[in-house]
Each structure stands twice: as C-alpha cells, then as structure tokens.
C-alpha cells in the first residue's frame, strides 16, 4: 500500500462510517472558520436525509446551518451570492439526480465567475451530493453525473472512496477558493461494497479507511492514491468502484495496480502516467454511463501520454448507456463479472 497522504495534525482516530466522516469534516471546518455555512433541503433540524449534517444546526445555529426551499437552482444561486459576500457555502443537493435544475447556476455562473470578473468575484462553494446506484433507487436516485461536471471548465470534481479520504478531501474542498462538486458514493456510506450484492453487507469497522482522525487534516485535491501496487495492469477507478476492483483483484490474483483517482479535476496525471508506463496496460472503471463518460477522457489522456508503453488497447468498464433501471440494477452495475471479463481480455491482448 502506497499512501500519498501527509500526517494528520491531530491523530486521535475513531472508527467512522463515511457519513460520520463527512459530518466531522463540516464540523471541524465550521469550528475553525465562521464564514462556512451549510444549506440544503432537509439539512437543518433533521440533519439531512442521509444524516450527513446531523447535529450541526444545534451546534452552529440556524443562520449557519439551514433548511432551504426545494429549488436546486435557488440553492446554488444563493450560494454563489453568499460566496460573493465573503461566505464559504457548503450546499447539499439531496441526490445527484436532482442537480440538473441547478446546472445554469453551476455551469454558467459558479464555474466562470472568477474568469469573467477578472478575479473580483469568486465562488468558493463546495456542492455535496450523494451519487451512484446499488440501493434500488431507480433512475432518479442512482445516477453518476460526474462527467457532466468534468466537462465544465472552472469547477473541480472530487469523489472519495473511504471515510478517511472523505473527511480529508471534503475539508480541502471547503477550503478551496474555487467551486468544487463533491460527489459522495452513497452505496459505500455505511461500508465498503465489493460488488457482490448477494453477500452480507460489510461496514467500515474493519476497513483501514474507516479509521478517521477526529481533528483537522486535509488530503490535497488533485492527488490520487495508489491503493494497491502491482505490475500487470493499471486499474483507474474512484468511489465505490475502487472497492469492486479490489475484490476482483483479490479473487483473481491478478497483480493489478489500483489507482483511486479521488479528484477527477484537477487530475493527478503524474500518478496515472507513471503507473501505466510501468504496467503497460490500462483499464478504466466507472459506474456512470459509457458514452462521453469520464473514462473517455482518461482513455484519451493515457493514449496521448503513454502510447508507446501500451501493450494492449485501453479498456473501459462502465455502466451501460441506459437510464439506471430499478429491478435490473445488478445487470446494469459494472460488477465483478464485467470487470473480471475485461481484466482477462486486457491481459490476453
């Protein structure tokens, strides 16, 4: 295990699930910086439908942690205005599937404010939103729209895969002066998911990523994490898929190098390049639909930079180009079989 994470300042660690880690990130930063405000549908008194903001209103008061009207364009537009005043808003969009009404405020406004105002105004927002499937949520509680945001210039996109990463990355995102989309893989809120939906669910209590410092620490944006070193093939993944890849690798005994990207924009191209040049093979795994997904960008980059080191075509393993189905969820999900088959193919080529 290589780890690019610097030592935490306060190293008293506790077992946390990802929701608790995210909650702790907001708690720790709010205590340090009075400019931080948390807002969104049901995030106040109730503490969010996934309980990620539980207890924060009680601790920091209603003007720093508040419920909002149900209008996503309103939430983001208001956050942009608060940012213009000098606050540091952390809006929640209840599900990534409901972020579309906010697209204009995100794409045309938040993402371009610094550029178009000559730096007079910035949008230091961190938009938190649960994303991804595997919970029988049907097409409006399962989507992975990260590729829509990585396509937009001026916004950063971050996706954690463990409670430890979630806290460190979220603190870094909140402190970042540019808008950040922070997608939380809800399938792994309560425990790592290895892709075997028919096996008992695990929780974070035994996973190394479930040990989380209680205090302040950051994981820099733009730094990938090599979660498993290997020689045979590079697997690029993020969020839930990191764990599914790890299980396939454990089951097949393939000596794969698994790179957890953690931040899609800005991307840690050096880590990717070094890994692919070493292994000569690159497989990209994401749950989002395939066409114009972030995997397409990764494939292009690897091809541009590592072409003469490649011993096989770059392979993408993704969700299918259909809406996320309800009952056939597990036929849609890029699980162990799909990844295993792709692994076989790329090693043969």
């Amino acid at each position: 295990m290589t780890d690019t994470i610097e030592q935490p300042v306060d190293d008293t660690t506790t077992r946390m699930n990802m929701i608790q880690a995210i909650n702790s990130a907001m708690d720790v930063t709010m205590a340090r910086d009075p400019a931080i405000v948390v807002m969104g549908e049901d995030v106040g008194y109730f503490g969010g439908v996934f309980r990620a903001t539980a207890g924060l209103q009680k601790k920091y008061g209603k003007t720093r942690v508040f419920d909002t009207p149900i209008t996503e364009c309103g939430i983001i537009g208001v956050a942009v205005g608060m940012g213009a005043y000098g606050l540091r808003p952390v809006p929640e969009i209840q599900f990534a599937d409901y972020i579309y009404p906010a697209l204009d405020q995100l794409v045309s406004e938040a993402a371009r404010l610094r550029y178009r105002s000559g730096g007079e105004f910035t949008a230091p927002l961190t938009v938190r939103s649960p994303f991804g499937g595997g919970i029988f949520g049907g097409q409006t509680h399962s989507q992975s729209p990260e590729g829509i945001f990585t396509h937009v210039s001026g916004v950063k996109t971050v996706i954690p895969s463990t409670p430890y990463d979630a806290k460190g990355l979220l603190i870094a995102a909140i402190e970042d002066n540019d808008p950040v989309i922070f997608f939380e893989p809800k399938r792994i809120y309560n425990g790592p998911f290895n892709g075997h939906w028919d096996r008992p669910a695990e929780n974070w209590s035994k996973h190394p990523g479930g040990a989380v410092p209680e205090g302040y620490y950051t994981i820099p944006l733009g730094k990938a994490n090599v979660v498993r070193a290997g020689e045979a093939v590079t697997m690029l993944a993020y969020g839930t898929m990191v764990h599914v890849c790890a299980q396939v690798v454990a089951d097949t005994g393939v000596d794969a190098e698994i790179v957890d990207l953690r931040t899609l924009v800005p991307l840690d191209i050096e880590t990717i390049e070094a890994s692919v040049k070493k292994t000569g093979r690159c497989m990209i795994v994401h749950e989002a639909t395939r066409t114009s997904g972030f995997g397409a960008e990764l494939a292009a980059l690897v091809q541009e930079r590592c072409f003469y080191h490649l011993e096989a075509p770059v392979v993408r393993v993704t969700g299918f180009d259909t809406p996320y189905p309800h009952s056939l969820e597990w036929a849609y999900f890029p699980g162990p079989v799909r990844i295993g088959q792709a692994l076989k193919k790329i090693l043969k080529d």
Binding site: G74, H141, R290, F320, P325
Partner: protein, 432 residues
C-alpha cells in the same frame, strides 16, 4: 455579537441586519395546538361566476372554501349538490386508496419491494378531483395522487405489478415503485424530479387548445415543490396563453422534514401565488371532498370556456411519513396528525352521507371489509407475477428496450455484453 454591531453603529448609525430562518411551531415532544390555523365556517365563502376575471376575486386566495360543516351538512354556494350515489362512490374510492396504501406500505416493510408512499389523510384531494374532471381530461400528477388511478378504475393488480417491478409490470421494472404511467387512464408518467410535470401540463393544455380539442389538463405538486423554477415557468406560460389547465398545490404542511414555511407559507398562502401571475387562485379545505370537488369543477368550467387557468391550494395534512424511507418522529411532534383541525376526509364524507340518511355505520364497516378484501385479492394475484427481489427480475434483455425507438449499434453491443456476462456468471436470469 456586541462588538460587531458596535462597529456597524459607529460607522453608519444603522441597526444591524439579522437573518430570518423559519421555524415550525412544533417539534418532537411539543404539545400541539393548531388554534391559530384559521378555519372559516363552511359555506361562508362566495362563489364567483367562472367567467369573472381573476383580479375580481383575489380574496378567495386568502380564505378557505369549505362545504361540509361540523354537523355533516353540505352548506353554502360551493355545495356541488352531488347525488348520494356519487357521494358513496367517492367514499368507496377514498377507502380503497387507504386500504391499498396500508397494504403496499406493509408489503415494503415485508421486503417485497423497495419503496412506497402513502397519501393518508389526503385522499380527498385526488379522489374528488378525479370525480369532478372528465375521464378524458389529462392528469400530470406527482407521486401522491394514486387516488386518480383508483378513481378512474385502474386495476389494482396493474398498480401492484408496477410496485413489485414484476413480470406483469408493463414498465418492465424500469421505474421506482409508484412512479406509474397509465396513458389509458389519462395519467402521465410520473417523474422522480419534482415539479417537472407542471410546465408539461401547460404544454398539453396549450396543444389541446390549439387543436380545438375540448379536453383540459390538470397537474399536482406538493407545497414544497412550488419552490422549483418549473412551477413558476408553468404559471407564466399558462397566463400568457390562457392555457386550459388546473394547477393543484397539495399543501400537506410538510416536505419531508421541512415545514411549509420553507416554501414561503409564513408570508402568504400558496393560492396567492396565482395573483401575481393574473391567474385565478382558490384555497380549499383539502379534507373536504365536496369542497375539492366544487373547486375542481369550477376551475374546469373556467378552463373549458377559455376563461383561463386556475390554481387551487388544497389545505391538508400529511398524516404519516413522507415515504417508507422516512421517520417523521425525528422532526415533528407526534401530536400533529390527531390535532389537525380539518379532520379525516373519509370520516367527514361518511358523516355527511349518514346525515343525509344515505349511509350507516354497518354499511361503512361492510365497505371497509369489502375494499380490504379487494386489495388482498389483488395482492395475491400480483404476487403470482413475482415480487421485487433478487432472482425474480424482469427478463434480462428488456434492460435496453425503450432507450430509443430503434436500438443503435452501441446499445446492441452493450446488450450482447450483458448477456455474455450473465452466461459467465453461471446464474442465468429469466429471459423474455
């Protein structure tokens, strides 16, 4: 923060601003008293001519149309004078919705499906509207108007098949439970994304008008959903083109954990949203089936005579959790549902029928048994087609149907890949 305000005072001599954040009256543990909910006497609100321009009755957006009084009598100008037979059918439809909800909620708890949403306490809103509209009128509902389907005679088995995502589900398990689509019953495909149906209803109504049709459209959303931009786009289009559409805002006081104050209810009513747009606005007692019927019929007559759109706020109460995923004891007082001043819509219509001498407790009990039995029978029938669960899925190859009319090459390739995966998994699933 005294130091900060001192600074402000010294600089400008102005008082510091403060931010208002709404707070509901009651939280868990609080005793509930709804004395400040203004409930005008039944029959006390005037009923203007349907052809009158919207600005002539702005007062109707701030009061409450009520027909059923405390003694079960139907009174005042809004009394729709319905036949006892119609009243009994409305009563039975409401009871059916309640029995259906009860059973399907339990099915979710038993692990037979992933999700369910009840409409307990709000049954009159959908049922009375369906009775007042023509069956040919087009409905663009939210997820809480299952009553429209039941009133229009959609077979319960079909609804359950959808809830179970089973082999009898004509949506092929593609949608979350209760996100029905029933074109044959004038019921638009339900979206999980709030208020998208509002402008769509206006578009349908504009199309109907432009084609010289006679059918109108009706749409529903919750009070929380009125905050979405689509709500306001819809009202703008509707007023500009005088679209033959009825906007229903179901104000059940709560949007998941957020009380109506987060949609603006501290400052005004939802019916009053209509005024700024020049649209007719009515506020009705949503637990009074006759008031809902009368308001809908009035709005329908306006729409059918090209007099323009109407927005109806149905003042009601969400008596249970938002959905099977919700626990309302976390954020509101458990005393609210029973203290709600407008009562139970089923009991109120029942009392009215009894007062008319057209009904009695025995018949009510027999009807309750009969609807419960009908729901149970339908459930048994539906479960023959399977329940949601691993191993009883839709035929695998249906996953790719319906993305496009014709399947492009990349989807054909992906479908083959999926079938190869299934073969490799050694656990073949059901096929078409």
């Amino acid at each position: 923060m005294p130091e900060e305000s001192d600074v402000v005072d010294a600089l400008s001599n102005l008082k510091p601003l403060s931010l208002h954040v709404p707070e509901p009256k009651f939280r868990p543990g609080d005793a509930v008293d709804f004395a400040d909910v203004e409930v005008p006497a039944a029959g006390s609100v005037r009923r203007p001519d349907t052809l009158a321009p919207a600005q002539d009755f702005t007062d109707l957006a701030y009061t409450m149309v009520r027909v059923l009084d405390e003694d079960g009598q139907a009174v005042g100008p809004w009394n729709p004078q319905l036949s006892p037979d119609r009243l009994r059918r409305m009563l039975r439809d409401m009871a059916m919705v309640r029995a259906f909800d009860e059973r399907m909620f339990r099915a979710q708890r038993q692990g037979k499906t992933s999700f369910y949403m009840k409409s307990l306490g709000e049954e009159a809103v959908a049922i009375a509207a369906a009775h007042a509209l023509d069956d040919e009128d087009m409905c663009f509902p939210s997820y809480r108007q299952q009553g429209l389907l039941i009133a229009r005679g959609c077979p319960l088995v079909d609804m359950m098949n959808q809830i179970y995502s089973n082999t009898g589900d004509k949506l092929q398990g593609k949608q979350l439970p209760i996100m029905y689509s029933e074109k044959r019953f004038g019921f638009f495909s339900i979206s999980g994304n709030l208020t998208t149906q509002y402008p769509q209803a206006v578009g349908w109504a504009m199309a109907s008008a432009s084609k010289g049709d006679t059918r109108i459209a009706a749409t529903w959303c919750g009070e929380g959903s009125t905050a979405e931009g689509d709500f306001h786009s819809a009202l703008t289009f509707a007023t500009v083109y005088r679209a033959p559409v009825i906007f229903n805002v179901v104000n059940n006081q709560w949007a998941i954990s957020s009380f109506s104050g987060f949609a603006g209810a501290e400052a005004t009513t939802f019916a009053a949203r209509a005024i700024g747009y020049g649209i007719a606005g009515l506020r009705v007692d949503g637990n009074d089936a006759l008031a809902v019927y009368a308001a809908t019929a009035w709005a329908a007559e306006r729409a059918r005579t090209n007099a323009g759109p109407t927005l109806i706020e149905h003042f009601t109460y969400r008596a249970e959790g938002h959905s099977t995923s919700d626990d309302p004891t976390q954020y509101r007082s458990a005393g609210e549902p029973t203290a709600w001043p407008l009562g139970d819509p089923i009991r109120r219509l029942k009392d009215h029928l009894i007062a008319l001498g057209e009904w009695d407790e025995d018949r009510q009990a027999a009807m309750d048994r009969e609807v419960a039995e009908a729901v149970k029978t339908a459930q048994k029938e539906a479960e023959k087609n399977g329940i949601l669960g691993h191993g009883l899925h839709q035929p695998l190859d249906t996953l790719f149907d319906g993305v496009f009319e014709e399947m492009p090459w990349h989807l054909r390739e992906q479908r083959q890949q999926m079938i190869d995966e299934e073969t490799a998994s050694g656990r073949p699933w059901a096929r078409k």
